[in-house]
Symmetry: C2
Subunit: 437 residues, 2 copies
């Protein structure tokens, strides 16, 4: 077997891109050894915005390009790595690479979740794979696990903590008693959150990843607009205290579950997770995905969900896979959706127990009115609490929380609308799922 | 791409073998869909000892054979699955299959740990892969993870709970306060332990798996005779109580670690694991392996370490991999050692803090004598304890335990020999490692 190098065209030399360059430098011999001397990977061209910028990795000037067309077209580039993020230029680059029959490695969850249908169609048309281990859960090999190791499993469910930023914030709110805004500021100061942390805290980063996992497991493309996503912006210390007292931990949870009729439940929201469950122990910026397959049973995959080196680890694994397929001229080993369509369970039809917090104006009759509305809807109450302050003035604003028995989420939503219309209720009620894992 | 079936020759129709037949029946369409319709797997021939025996899976009589030569030679057999266990017939079957250039899938850790050198040489010679995901940690895809997902990582360490039987026994001793023998009997009654549980409780089942993991990560064959293995037969309730009081859990731990000079530490023994570490939460028959790679960082892979369906899940994943390599005529994708030799760190040169239990005859001066021997060796004591029974007769037999600071294990062993020779010491001291994870 010959061992000339394979050339990598690296679009993006930010945190992860630099990590890829460093990992390839550091472990090039190891990779060559482990592939029986058949694979050497070399960075051939790198797309940057400003070639003059000082960077943590030094690359000869002639390897830097500013036009992605030059990168993709370069004959020295055999594999294209897309790490620029976003869904516009990144889409162009990935499309062009596939059309040039150059395998693609990407860590771009938003791109694949939003425009995967088009890209996977190109991948099929040009028989050229897209690899995306780095797009979900950083250094955790969850893509390969679901796609290859569990290929003989019907996947019953995948429940995961797949956004490290929000997990860090929730942990600091729990252990440090911080308000959301203070915990977010701390995460930003530590470099755990982006300058614009919107996608992290509003749940959409996790949702993009969950959409990719669901597409892998169930084989059909998923319309992002149909996915129920709630973030952690509304989590308050009182919620955390209440969860703690009841033996739960608050986590931003992505839940993917196949129902017996084949419909797929897919939602992301703050959830109460029982302290005894292993997911409750996933702290800080770590990620974990609990996968339940019909044969493998319960499994959990845990690790660093972001960061330079862990994400680079996944990119490098994909590069080796892409290189193997080029070297051995094997067929397509990336992922392709294998069903044209499937059914997403409307969030209204999902069921869990819930925790609901109401912002109320305290006066006699408040609890009775809320409880009456729940009773009229047939929703059982398993507990209720409002802060006891004997010296509290009449008509003070207080938080009142209810724990509700399992019910259809749609029924709960309707009932909460009725309750929100009561004149003692000051804002939209906040709902957390109590997950049975 | 054509999709004629690939024929499986299944050697062994016990628990796991039946699970493979059932999984292939249940999810054949799913596997075909997920491989783009290119792969259908069919059981062509099955090796059994007694064709007349009633089994949980029904197979037509013409598929059953009693001579493994017939199985391997059958032209309808494209891939050979070895699930008969042992290292004699299994060796013959695997060797013959490789020589016939039929890819092998096996779950036989003892075979590969004891005779891997010969078999991997054949695998290389005949360019025919051996797949063995099912040999380590049942349904957890740890082999593929180390071999492929972490291919760009230098593996710093792999620490695991990889024997479910002993983990169940230790858990029952902890939560139920049982003696070892009672917990073992319970495990046997529940079907978690073999009729002959020797390899499970003496640590060798875990050691075989650890040897395979180390070979994967470091690329050289390992002499089983050079591996330090201690089992759980000597664990007593007093040890568990002591560990609990200090904030530890007792686990049978396999430790694989690369030192800066490249030497590999590899040992299996009962260990104290800090309760806060995620491995401490791995209970019952579950397995987990914590992997630390230079790029991926800390990761953990958790799941069912044994049993019909989980192990079958891994066999099926390997079958698909083997089928792909046949379908696409790709090169070797199994594992091959990539270094002729490497250095195993002698256990004498490994270092941890330790817990040591002495069976002593209580009389004035005992603690002083033991403490003196430790002091003479320069081994620090961080704590000591002996049960306080004010009404205890003189010269009673008691357990005395010492917690020792980190020291060379060789020094500890020599010192314990000196102590064992004291006339107040009644039997060989029992040592547990206190692991820094």
């Amino acid at each position: 077997m010959k061992c000339s190098s394979l050339g990598i065209g690296l679009a993006g030399l930010g945190t992860v891109g630099s990590g890829v360059v460093l990992a390839l430098e550091r472990n090039a011999d190891l990779i060559s050894d482990r592939t029986g001397g058949t694979i050497r990977l070399e960075v051939a061209k790198v797309l940057v915005r400003d070639p003059a910028k000082t960077r943590p990795v030094s690359l000869p000037a002639e390897k830097l390009v500013t036009d992605w067309r030059e990168l993709v077209a370069d004959p020295a580039v055999d594999i294209v790595v897309e790490l620029i993020g976003g869904t516009t230029d990144a889409f162009e680059i990935v499309s062009a690479a596939l059309q040039a029959r150059k395998p693609v490695v990407t860590g771009n969850k938003a791109l694949l979740a939003e425009r995967g249908v088009e890209l996977f169609a190109l991948s099929k048309q040009y028989d050229t794979p897209i690899h995306f281990e780095a797009a979900v859960a950083g250094g955790i090999p969850i893509i390969r696990t679901v796609q290859e190791s569990f290929i003989g499993n019907r996947i019953h469910s995948m429940c995961g903590i797949i956004n490290g930023t929000s997990n860090y914030i929730l942990e600091r709110m729990t252990t440090g008693g911080l308000e959301f805004s203070a915990a977010l500021a701390e995460a930003q100061a530590l470099g755990y959150a982006e300058a614009d942390p919107a996608l992290d805290v509003n749940g959409w980063d996790a949702a993009h990843k969950a959409i990719l996992l669901a597409t892998l497991a169930y084989g059909f493309p998923i319309d992002t607009a149909a996915v129920h996503v709630a973030g952690i912006e509304q989590v308050r210390p009182i919620d955390i205290e209440f969860a703690t007292r009841l033996g739960y931990v608050v986590k931003l949870l992505a839940v993917v579950r196949e129902h017996p009729d084949g419909a797929v439940e897919l939602r992301v929201q703050p959830s109460f997770v029982a302290k005894s469950h292993i997911l409750a122990s996933v702290n800080g910026v770590f990620n974990a995905v609990a996968v339940h397959g019909d044969a493998a049973g319960e499994s959990l995959f845990y690790g660093r969900g972001a960061g330079q080196d862990p994400t680079a680890s996944s990119v490098v694994a994909d590069l080796v896979e892409a290189a193997r397929s080029l070297r051995h001229a094997t067929g397509h080993r990336g992922f392709l959706p294998y069903r044209e369509s499937g059914t997403l369970l409307p969030v209204e039809d999902t069921e869990t127990a819930c925790y609901v917090r109401f912002d109320v104006t305290d006066r006699p009759g408040v609890i009775a009115e809320v409880a009456r509305a729940l009773a009229d809807a047939g929703i059982g109450i398993s507990g209720t609490h409002s802060p006891v302050k004997p010296d509290q003035p009449d008509a003070a604003f207080i938080d009142m929380v209810f724990l509700l028995h399992t019910c259809r989420f749609g029924l709960l939503q309707e009932t909460l609308k009725t309750i929100e219309a009561l004149d003692c209720i000051n804002s939209t009620p906040v709902v957390f799922r109590i997950e049975k894992l």
